[in-house]
Amino acid sequence: MEIASAILLLIGALAMLVGGIGILRMPDLFTRLHAVGITDTLGAAAILLGLAFIAGWGLLLVKLFLILAVLLLLNPTASHALGRAAVHGARRPWLSAPK
């Protein structure tokens, strides 16, 4: 149980770190959105699941899953809204040369 939790927490922390690096390294807004996607899905999910292993059965577990559900439902909506607003604000995505 403890080991599973530790592994999940480690994966989550790494994903958060990679996402943060991605936000800095990516060349434009739209590619940065993908990096945010990592922190929002794998990062948050792995850390919250890892904490769920520590929490054990009870109200805490339900609340942890509630937070996770809220994040997984709302974050893509926010990302989509951001991308859409940027397109409408005449930001053209940086595109690679076609192969």
């Binding site: 990679v18 739209f30 959105l33 899905t41 893509p76 990302s79 192969k99």
Partner: protein, 157 residues
């Protein structure tokens, strides 16, 4: 009416969960506030198939695990690209057909696309979704249409 009742039960369950105190007086207050929230929502006219998509719930139980697996695989792919010293990304904008019949179905599809790192839905129209993809692989994965088929199946339940 059925939707209003289930919304009331959902809200009340949420209230109980956050309250943590279960005596007569406080539970009574919770009942009153949930009931007034449902009343207001009905007056606003948002208790319908779009505001409370109960029809999608049974199918969701089968769709969620598959989506979870896909999202994790996509995560590792994008993470590898971010950490790669030469940043091997080929951003592109593609259009994928959205064959879902209902608005909640299309929204689920668009949200699933965004939830998967590597693809982000930019614009949703009646029969198409404009998608920004980080790499050729991510775009091809989406264009294979498996996710779209599964969301259509999610609606059929």
């Amino acid at each position: 009416m059925k939707r209003a009742l289930s919304l009331f039960l959902l809200l009340f369950a949420f209230w109980l969960l956050l309250s943590g105190h279960y005596d007569f007086w406080l539970i009574g207050l919770g009942l009153i506030s949930s009931a007034s929230a449902v009343f207001l929502a009905r007056r606003m006219g948002i208790v319908d198939a779009e505001g409370l998509p109960l029809d999608l719930v049974p199918g969701l139980l089968r769709y969620a695990p598959w989506l979870f697996g896909t999202v994790i695989r996509a995560n590792f792919d994008v993470a590898r690209r971010i950490l790669h010293p030469r940043l091997p990304i080929t951003p592109m904008v593609i259009r994928v057909p959205a064959e879902q019949r209902t608005a909640p179905g299309r929204v689920s599809y668009a949200n699933s696309i965004t939830l998967t790192p590597g693809t982000i839905s930019l614009e949703v129209s009646d029969d198409e979704i404009e998608v920004h993809a980080l790499s050729v692989d991510a775009a091809e994965d989406l264009q294979s249409g498996e996710m779209g088929r599964r969301v259509v199946a999610l609606e059929a339940h």
